[in-house]
Symmetry: C2
Subunit: 197 residues, 2 copies
């Protein structure tokens, strides 16, 4: 089973190059995930817990450097067109992560990262007829978890501390995998700081 | 049938606010699509030809103002959870657009916009078991159309003039709707200008 994420970081500042390259530094030396960067996005391949943690680390590093940062990410697992990759194993670890995520009911009790985020996400369980049930269940879960803000067309707005929001996204991604082999989750996260016009 | 797009514009410059607001000005006064903007993304609701044209117009306006601009967009049609909307009709127009798109074999023959773009996209035909066939067919189509660059994990790199790239994306989106009621296409487009570090 192949799992990972393509993500892009957008610090909306003239210093975007140094902030992107600086944030990606946090991935250097990781042996629990495979990393590839090109001029559009960075790929992280590994089990979901490592992948979400890595994307969060990059985002928090960028937020520490500048106020106005967005990260856009596509998490995917089980795509039939992707090769198997040993780094995505053991599946047992991923499954226990999923179980752990399911066990967290109110994510607002998580320790704070100190970084507030606004976000929206969409979930795509592929190849199964009852995919809307999975999507609706995960939207409901964000309410229990304390991160739901409101529905929008095509996406759901969530928000809170970065630790809560990333945990909610990982939980949705992991739980959806119980209902479809191939699951994609797309998300946009914004560092929630006032914009002075 | 409900169709539209949520998109976000990221001019990576200190002047991001004025460039975003300026680019969104091109949507003012449109009566062929419904527009809603919040602090994460802008929604355009309408038939696919109008929606793709509107997103392209916003992107080109931003590219005219600054070099380093990214647009990230989620196009969706036929989501069972969305209300019907008269503005998304007539379907007959959309269908004839789709037929027109299919008829364009080599998009490099399109008139140039003068704006080169690098892009990647992913297609999600939902609720059907043979969705990978549709995805593979649309990746092949980008080769015929002259915009294919290379495969990546989870996405396909394409590139060329903005007119070609947007036409290829719309064609993939429209054709995929022949195989699934609910189709989502996500894409990231980058104004292809050198980055001086």
């Amino acid at each position: 089973m192949f799992s990972g994420c393509q993500f892009s970081l957008y610090p909306v500042t003239d210093r975007f190059v140094q902030i992107i390259l600086g944030a990606l530094e946090v991935l250097k030396g990781r042996t629990d995930a495979r990393i590839e960067t090109d001029d559009i996005s960075t790929l992280i391949v590994g089990p979901s817990e490592q992948v979400f943690a890595a994307v969060q680390a990059v985002f928090l590093k960028a937020c520490a450097e500048t106020d106005h940062v967005v990260i856009n990410a596509t998490f995917s697992r089980g795509c039939p067109g992707e090769p198997d990759d040993p780094i995505c194993q053991p599946d047992s670890a991923t499954k226990s992560d999923a179980a752990k995520a399911v066990a967290i009911e109110d994510l607002t009790k998580l320790e704070s990262s100190g970084v507030p985020v606004k976000a929206q996400f969409a979930l795509y369980p592929l190849g199964v007829p009852d995919y809307m049930d999975t999507i609706y269940a995960e939207i409901e879960a964000t309410k229990t978890e304390g991160v739901f803000k409101r529905g929008k067309h095509f996406v759901t707005r969530i928000g809170g501390d970065a630790n809560q929001v990333f945990a909610a996204l990982q939980a949705a991604f992991d739980r959806a995998a119980e209902h479809a082999e191939h699951v994609v989750l797309t998300t946009t996260l914004l560092h929630d700081v006032p914009i002075i016009i």
